[in-house]
Structure formats: structure tokens, C-alpha cells
Amino acid sequence: MSTIKVNNLENASGVGRYTIHAWVCFTGSGTVSIRNSENISSLTDSGTGMYFINYSNNFSNTNYAGGGAVRHDTTSNNRENTFVNFRRISDSIATSKAGLSVSNSGSPVDDETVTFMVTGE
């Protein structure tokens, strides 16, 4: 397998293409485990519905973006009002890690499937 190394990626029309810095899909209930990921070295389970994702390679700055989705369990549809968000508190966002919180109507919950991806520089 060969590796392509470039600083800028564009399509044939010169429109910039941007890549995901890291992503993860993990089991957030029972025994927490990472199902699949890229550029994630580990996940920290820090309480009900509370996690940190730790990046294999750091971002160059703290101004990055992310988003995700959750599924509560394997027998019901996604619960309405259940979200996974950045924890924008204290030092929860750093170039090396991000704090995530999974909540339903404002209360932290453990969901069967949690996905999150982040992008930036």
C-alpha cells in the first residue's frame, strides 16, 4: 500500500476538499469499547454519559469542530432529544483530546452506540 502526502487537496475544478481529523464509533453501555476509529488513541469513560476521546495526533490548534450521533439500544429507535455534544467546559477541549457528553433531555445517559467525528487543522 502506498501513501499519498499532500498539503492541499482540490478537485479538478480547484474546489478544496477537506478531510476528517478523527472519528470514532464506540459502545457506550455495558463494557465500553471502541468498535472502529481513525486517529483515536483511546477513549476515557469518565462516568454515566461522559467520555473523553484522545487523539493519536494532536490538532495544531483548539479551534476545531465536531459532531456525532447516538443510538440508545438495539431494540428501539433513536430516542428523541438524545444528543452527544462537546463538553465546552474548563480544559475539556484541547488539541489532544475532547470531552463528550451524551444526554437525554438534559440528563446524562449511557447509549448503546455513540459516534463522533472532528475536523479542523
Binding site: G30, N61, T62, A94, T95, S96
Partner: protein
């Protein structure tokens, strides 16, 4: 699937439940294939960022590019065993105050995956057994 987990407590936040660090299988594979830079590369970045936090300038923080690029350009350290990779991961992803400072009891343990309870009831009150 990773054979180990790390359980630890935060000495600066004693009210928080015990944390469980779950390694990524992809990262472990890279570690065991010899693709990691020296741990000092990450420590240097952590030190710069912590200084910015301490000085109240973490918003809009940006790494020195020459230090940041070392993640990709520094010579690789060679192949690690899974146990060595877990020790590396402790030093990379767990705050230094947890593992580099001596307390009157251990603040972290590397444990087998099956030792982590699968019943998450009272997850907000988990403590590390001594």
C-alpha cells in the same frame, strides 16, 4: 480486541468517579508495528498547551508548528509489545499528575479488560479498589 484497560482516579478532582481508559485497536496496531514517535513529542505539546491554560490564553491556542510537526517527522521508536504500548498510552493520554506524582496510594492500575464491570449501575460512584 485490546486485552487491557487502565483505571485511574483524578487526584485534583476526588469527587469524580474512577475513569476507565479504553485503548483503540487501530492505535495499538500502530504501536506494535513501530509507528509511534518518542513520548517526549507529546509531552512537549502538552507542556506548551498547559502553559497557555495557566496563563488564560487557551482560547485560540495554536502550537508552534516546528514542535507539532514532530508527531509526524520524529524518528519512530520501534515495535512495542501490547504491555509496553499500554504503558506508553498511560504516559500519553492520562494526565501527568496521575502517574508521575507519588501519592499515599496508587492512582492508576493497568487491568485486564474482563476486570471492568459490565454493569454500569452506580457508574457515577465507581472507585478504584486498592
Amino acid at each position: 480486541m485490546a486485552s487491557y484497560r487502565v483505571i485511574y482516579e483524578e487526584p485534583d478532582y476526588p469527587e469524580q468517579p474512577a475513569m476507565v481508559l479504553v485503548p483503540s485497536d487501530n492505535w495499538l496496531a500502530d504501536a506494535m508495528a513501530g509507528k509511534l514517535p518518542p513520548i517526549s513529542v507529546y509531552w512537549e505539546l502538552q507542556d506548551d498547551e498547559q502553559k497557555a491554560i495557566d496563563e488564560g490564553r487557551h482560547d485560540n491556542f495554536e502550537h508552534d508548528p516546528s514542535k507539532w510537526e514532530k508527531q509526524f517527522t520524529a524518528p519512530r521508536i520501534g515495535k512495542l509489545t501490547e504491555e509496553e504500548a499500554m504503558e506508553y498510552l498511560v504516559m500519553k493520554d492520562i494526565p501527568r499528575r496521575v502517574w508521575a506524582v507519588e501519592y499515599n496510594r496508587p492512582m492508576f492500575k493497568i487491568i485486564k479488560t474482563e476486570q471492568v464491570p459490565s454493569d454500569r449501575q452506580f457508574r457515577g460512584a465507581w472507585e478504584m479498589t486498592q
